[in-house]
Symmetry: C2
Subunit: 343 residues, 2 copies
């Protein structure tokens, strides 16, 4: 399998991951008891709300693809890492179920979120069950890396929780009150940690040394932060043709995204102007002014440079972990894919 | 340690478990990142809402005591099973945090529930973090039983989720629509599974065979169901002096508890009368009539007999698991303690 995959581009790697991991993922979810299974099957896009089969508007499978690519990069058999790939995807989806409840989000992957269909209690419980299932899949795996993988994944979930908690708390605080450092830590925890952990699990399953495993974890984290910075830029200036996200969406919600927090902390008049605008709900004209203020305060440049810098660090960590650049190619392709959208 | 504990009664076993497990439990919780730690410290009763130290109205530690007693019963060193005891108590408290959100409960251990103090998002996230921590504590344990313990505990959490989901779903259904079988399955999942798992983990940590481990799991499950039946009787006829629970509380909430479901399915005129009363909110006089109807329909007798029968099965399973009755004494004392309250 390794030969057939090498050299393909990121989209092919993702499709391959969905093909290889999808059936095992679905088989795991199908072991859940009745009503929990139904909530989970709906959430994954495999069933409609009434339980009839659906096409499966499942996620892109970035995390499973990272697990498999990391295993390949260390000369491991990615086929033996499929359970690890299933586990990270289950964890990712457990957090989505809970985050949608917590953030009161009503749409996910162009469909009504699970809690809007089945109620908050069932969405919380189904999330808990997916998390338990993730660990169960790893624990039942007879692979020698199973134990260390569980250690890493549970530590990662604690960090994910801290990130989600910080994100909620920031929304409650005054615009000037959130520091850029806090914001970066939150973004690494909420977005980088599971991408890094996915890479680390693939490495562990291929028998990589602790040092290389940690370097690959750092690669995933840094790439994750670069992704978040670019996502935040899209949330302000948009890329509606490709993402369906309207320009200004994050500003309208007065989100304390990274470019905004950088602008607020810039000590510039434009930063003050932005803080004033963020003090109350904004009209469409205000939103345009806020976007301009972020730019004048240097928030846009900062985020773009920061994203490039983080990708640079990611590539350094990758070359520390996998010195053979040919073997690292798939991981690099995936990292570039997730951060490519505005480039 | 084993000699000093043998022969003491259940209260001493529980106190001993709190002494031995409490510091490790607290040390684990203190590893959580800031705001999550604060929610958890409050939930466990170690801190007030403002973060100042509190007495610690922590739970009775039934589950940790079962882990230690099970390890002792198989000749193991209970000191080596402390992490397993910490893990089951963390899982128990993760479910309490989520259940209080789901059931909209405002009081727990005579204090406002965490979600009423910190908000629903923080309570959900803190619950997730405690669950992750539970598995992390086990995964980081170098004991050879750590892997099998994780398998059992994650399978148990899936069952707990199914039980909690069923419990919520029953409340939405018409009185006649819930069968006694469904209700018993729900009670075993929601109450029995974690008690059984606690026993099984102690057995695994003492190197018990799979057969004996399973028998001890069954012991805990059956004792747990007996406990639930007795708790349901208290929820109708009360034992206010000892529990603080007013008589009729479960009837006032029109809960589909086991004696009620037995009465509703009895095919008796009293069962019909109860169904009619359950069709609408009840006055205090109605609640008294409902309690009498449950009794006339045979629900009270059924529950009492069923509880005794389940305890009988529990004792049989215990003697299959631990033929030496002296070694099984502590487990029996704990099982009798949790089901003793009305006797």
């Amino acid at each position: 399998m390794s030969e057939a995959v090498e050299g393909r581009e990121a989209l092919a790697l993702l499709e391959h991951a969905r093909d290889v991991v999808g059936p095992e993922l679905r088989a795991s979810v199908e072991t859940l008891p009745g009503p929990l299974r139904r909530v989970a099957m709906y959430h994954f896009g495999w069933e409609h709300a009434d339980g009839s089969p659906a096409d499966g508007a499942t996620g892109k499978a970035v995390r499973p693809a990272l697990v498999l690519a990391a295993a390949r990069a260390f000369g491991g058999d990615p086929g033996r890492a499929v359970r690890a790939a299933v586990a990270v995807e289950l964890v990712h989806n457990f957090t989505l179920l809970h985050d949608d409840v917590i953030d009161d989000d009503t749409t996910r992957r162009h469909r009504p979120t699970a809690w809007t269909v089945f109620g908050v209690p069932d969405a919380i419980i189904a999330g808990d069950a997916l998390f338990a299932l993730a660990l169960r899949v790893l624990a039942e795996d007879r692979h020698p890396a199973s134990g260390p993988a569980i250690e890493r994944l549970t530590a990662c979930v604690v960090e994910l929780c801290a990130g989600q908690q910080a994100d909620c708390a920031f929304e409650e605080r005054a615009p000037h009150d959130v520091s850029l450092d806090e914001c970066l830590t939150m973004a690494i925890a909420k977005t980088g940690a599971l991408l890094g952990c996915s890479c680390a699990l693939g490495a562990l399953y291929a028998g990589a040394t602790p040092e290389r495993t940690s370097a690959l974890d750092a690669f995933g984290r840094e790439a994750g932060l670069a992704f978040q910075l670019i996502d935040d830029l899209i949330g302000i200036w948009g890329d509606p043709g490709r993402t369906g996200k309207p320009a200004g969406a994050d500003l309208a919600a007065r989100k304390k995204s990274l470019p905004v927090v950088a602008a607020l902390g810039s000590g510039t008049p434009a930063g003050e102007e932005l803080a004033a605008l963020y003090g109350a709900p904004m009209s469409p004209a205000d939103i345009l002014r806020a976007a301009e203020a972020v730019e004048r305060a240097g928030g846009r440049d900062w985020a773009q440079h920061q994203a490039a810098e983080r990708m640079g660090v990611a590539v350094q960590e990758l070359s520390r972990a996998v010195p053979d650049l040919a073997a690292a190619g798939d991981l690099l392709a995936l990292a570039e894919f997730v951060t490519r959208r505005t480039r």
